[in-house]
């Protein structure tokens, strides 16, 4: 079960510092004064903020900067690593792997590229290959990031005891004060437990992530989902309203609309449903691969278009053969979860 873990800087300080770093880098970027490393770092920072604050616009900006970087510095491996990450984030896994091959040809660090490759294999459901790379990294140097990554693969494979053991080893080996890596790790474990149906453990880990980083939108969203699953709908609604208002990720509006609909608050539910639908239409037009699964969930439930849901779920499955993608197709086909 989640203990308090390593002591890290208060989330409000860390998020404030992250914002200040991004603002500073962006203002220098406007003047064209960033080094290749700084531009690659800015891509990372924007992607981090996008993940933590549930901001799709940040992720899009990171992807655009990574594209620019390739144009500006095509001979530097760091440019291709940066773009591989943003492509991976938008589920463009094939092109991301191609970028990593190019980075390798340009002399990029082999161990670092292997780690990037493992993350993509994991997203694709190629767990055996991901596990081999992650295990090699731990054998070489069992530090926080290597152990955390290995834990993630075990979790995806359903080996939750092993995942917990590796997660604990990772947090014990953490030697920094930044809350981001630890909170992300705690959230991942919560997410995995949720997928494995253990809501008590899922809540403990998501709670830990939110205690560490109160502004962590995806962790808040999962806590709302847990609340709803446990019948605590008022708590779930209270948690989701600010997320749905602030985040440009329609997932929160979808969840809120669904719960409101289930509790008879039809008018407000329809408002959020409309917002989510409009936003999914926008995002699918630009990033179909990335939003196919969540959009399928939307049309399967509050969206009320099971045919479109099935089509999107199949698109998602064609991209990655993960248990989650298969389950989504089954549910969209009207079959009970397998």
């Amino acid at each position: 079960m989640a203990d308090s873990g390593p002591v890290t800087t208060a989330g409000v300080i860390a998020v404030g510092n992250l914002q200040a770093r991004i603002d500073g880098q962006l203002s220098r970027a406007t003047g064209g004064r960033l080094t290749v490393g700084e531009r690659a770092e800015l891509v990372e920072l924007l992607a981090l903020r996008g993940h933590v604050l549930g901001c799709v616009a940040d992720a899009e900006r990171a992807a655009a900067l990574a594209d620019d970087l390739i144009g500006q510095v095509p001979g530097d491996a760091r440019s291709f690593v940066a773009r591989a990450r943003t492509r991976g984030a938008f589920h463009r896994f094939g092109p991301a792997l191609t970028d990593l091959d190019t980075a390798a040809a340009l002399g990029g660090d082999r161990a670092a590229l292997d780690a990037e490759r493992a993350a993509i294999y994991q997203a694709l459901g190629r767990y055996g290959e991901a596990l081999a790379i992650r295990q090699r990294a731990v054998d070489r140097h069992a530090d926080f990031s290597a152990l955390a990554a290995l834990a993630g693969v075990h979790g995806e494979r359903g080996e939750m005891d092993e995942a917990e053991r590796r997660f604990s080893a990772a947090t014990r080996s953490y030697q920094g004060t930044s809350p981001f890596p630890v909170a992300i790790l705690e959230f991942q474990l919560g997410q995995l437990w949720m997928e494995h149906g253990n809501l008590r453990r899922a809540r403990a880990w998501c709670d830990a992530a939110v205690r560490r980083l109160p502004a962590y939108v995806p962790a808040q969203g999962h806590l709302a989902e847990i609340d709803a699953a446990l019948g605590q709908t008022a708590a779930a609604i209270a948690r989701l309203r600010p997320l749905a208002s602030a985040s440009d990720d329609p997932d929160y509006a979808t969840q809120l609309a669904r719960i409101l609909g289930n509790t008879g608050q039809t008018e407000e539910a329809m408002t959020w449903r409309g917002k989510a639908e409009a936003r999914y239409d926008e995002l699918l037009a630009r990033h179909q691969e990335a939003f196919a699964d969540h959009a399928a969930e939307f049309w399967l439930t509050i969206g009320g278009d099971p045919e479109r849901a099935l089509w999107l779920a199949r698109q998602n499955l064609s991209l990655r053969q993960t248990p989650r993608a298969r389950a989504l197709v089954r549910r969209s086909s009207g079959h009970p979860p397998g």
Binding site: P6, V7, T8, T9, A10, V12, I13, A14, G16, N17, A20, R21, D23, G24, Q25, S27, R28, G31, R33, L34, T35, V36, G37, E38, E41, Q175, G176, T177, S178, P179
Partner: protein
Amino acid sequence: MSDHNNSPRGVAEPAIDIGDAYVFPSPSRPGQLVLVMTVFPNAQPGALFSDAARYQFRIRPVTIPASGPGSRFEVGTDEYNITCTFAAPVTTDGAGNFAQEGTCTLPNGATVSFRVNDEHGGEAPGARVFAGLRMDPLFNDSTGYVETLATRQLAFQENGTNGADGWDILGIVVELDVATMLGRAPGTLFAVAAETVTAGKFPVRLDRFGRAFVKGQMLGELGADTVNRDLDLRELWNQEDPFQLAPNYLGAYRARLNANLAVMDGIDGKTDWPLQPDGTHPLTELYLGDYQVVDVAKPYTEDSYLEIELALLQDRAHATCGGRSLNDDAGDTNLTFVITGGNGPRISDGVDQATVRASDSFPYLAPPNPSPAVAGRILAPSKVADQLAFLQQAGLASR
């Protein structure tokens, strides 16, 4: 830069990244010793200290068992530590502004509470403490400095460009009454190091600082170390106890310093620090003990950085308080010390003072620049040749 952006963890978490440390007798209050640590290089308004770290000044008495080339100080085992911690910030208004409280534990066990950015700081018998955003007191021509090391030729101009011009930084200033806080020590010479460590049950050292320009330049990859050509030593160095290096990497540090110091000595075309018979550079042992040495019985002198060290090596009694004052041109002193050994004219980087000079009175550090310059926060390369390209690409290069 002095020690700005020289640690991967510091770049990831700037609030624990030490920029510099300073130790000097108060110019305005005789009998008071001032300790300053700066963290969070290039901080912007609103920057705060980490509540997950301890900010420490570690003070130990030192003696001089023997002087002459190759000598080093003997550091005692008693410690007179000052530890500052900070609470998580709290909102003070509806506009998203935060206030942060801090506490400083003094060598006698007493504590001082203060609010970050309160100009008056906090006070207890025998001590005053300030913490908050100020102007960075560092000044040097960082490009010329790096170019000098990379090309192995003096590369300064008459009017250099301060690489930290207009920067803000978070500063911790502790003013101690020497008699109250250090009076039971056997002598008047003290070694002082600054460090940041994690606040958990098993503290991990995150960053440390003793003398200026040690980590990035003297331990940097100049291309002269034939033992470990490509080893970035900075993070290993950061984790070491400043008063007791572990044996694991001692050989690596020693080899790097021996090689780099010899190269630096030759920059002016002559050898001022002849190697000892076993090939050891006479400054290596001195720099392995990475702390500032201050004589609390001597009055304030603005330009006394490394004077006690030079006296030790020249087998004479020191004349000043040593340490490092906020307005001391430590960059010039450092290069002159290492390159000329005091046997030639003073080397100047063409930058003689900070954007705004530090004050003679508490809290000493100049008020923050309301519109601070913005610079990137990325790990400075360990390879000195790459540092030059880094500064040029980052727009920090002055030429």
